[in-house]
């Protein structure tokens, strides 16, 4: 059964009740141990791979050396034949035969190293995918558990603080009302601000002798004098 199905079954099956756990803690610990084991195997496989690849490189160098030596001796053999020295040519040919058999052996071990390296590379890739998959599954189980525990903590907190959960619509109404109040306050502040700036403008105009001026004693006297006439 996939981990998705297990979690779904556990949630549907009422494991969501407070205090009950999806997967028992022991199983989680075993799973974690399995992941650690798999990671250890992976590290070991990577180390083995490095060793095999080093051997592969050495073997490949050896094959090249033998090839070079064979070419070299073939040249010697031809030269000996050109000089008509059949005996020497035969001796060189024997050496070449020995080199060729050595080459066959070395090539075989190179092939075998290559095979092992490829197998190990595949194994490492497969193990890496496996470990990543295990970790993802463990994360799902742990998250589900953590959410359940968090939920029970939240529920306990609500029931102990005696605060009643509002319905979604009531909550929204309250939030909107607060937002409205805030907006109104901002608007009121803006109006007040603009009124204040009007006042200050008036004051400046008055100072400059523009617009309505305060009734002064002399202006009152002037008015009375005008009436007398």
């Amino acid at each position: 059964m996939s981990i998705f199905k297990k979690i779904m079954t556990a949630i549907r099956g009422g494991a969501s009740e407070v205090g009950e756990s999806i997967v028992d803690a022991n199983a989680t610990r075993i799973f974690e141990q399995e992941i650690r084991d798999a990671e250890n195997h992976l590290t070991k496989a990577k180390r083995d791979l490095t060793g095999v690849m080093a051997q592969q490189m050495a073997s490949s160098r050896e094959v090249d050396r033998i090839k070079r030596e064979i070419t070299e001796h073939e040249g010697y053999a031809v030269q000996a034949l050109e000089k008509g020295d059949e005996t020497l040519a035969l001796a060189v040919a024997e050496k070449i035969a020995a080199l060729e058999s050595e080459q066959t052996t070395q090539q075989q071990s190179l092939d075998s190293f290559e095979g092992s390296a490829n197998r190990l590379k595949d194994l490492v890739k497969k193990s890496e995918r496996q470990v990543a998959e295990y970790k993802r599954q463990l994360s799902m189980v742990k998250t589900t558990e953590s959410v359940q525990k968090a939920t029970s903590a939240i529920t306990d907190n609500f029931s102990s603080s005696n605060s009643k959960l509002l319905s979604a619509k009531d909550s929204l109404e309250r939030i909107k009302a607060k937002q409205q109040k805030f907006d109104d306050q901002m608007k009121a502040a803006e109006v007040l601000e603009s009124e204040n700036s009007d006042n200050s403008l008036e004051a400046k105009l008055k100072e400059a002798g523009i617009g309505a001026t305060d009734a002064s004693a002399s202006s009152v006297l002037d008015r009375l004098k005008a009436k007398q006439k």
């Binding site: 953590s146 968090a150 939920t151 929204l172």
Partner: protein, 137 residues
Amino acid sequence: MNIHTIANHLNTMADSSETGMVFDCQPISGEVDVLQISVVDREELPIFLSVSDDQILCITYLWGAEEVKSDKLHEMHESMLEMNIPMPLSSFSKIGDKYVIFGALSINSTYDDIEHELAVLSNNAVEIIDDMSDFLI
């Protein structure tokens, strides 16, 4: 990163937040530590934050199954599925008989990431309840 360092950050930030929201944090103790985060003026829709090995989970409760008009349940589920991708950063879920929206962050997130997540989650929650209120009693 744990709920206490997050709480300290959010509480000391106060008015200097980038999001214009003021957060009030209250740790809830239990088997898993949970931080109850109230957004000022939106206290009705608190955000619950918990930190696990690899992620930070932020959850807001939307409504209970009993608040859904029985003949609208299917339609509501369809709308929620359709809205799941367009809704920025948050996703819908159901915990027990409560519908929730949540956001999950990497454990390596910065405080700015968390603050942004909380602000978006809060906005999403308010808007979604408004948009879905036709389905609710």
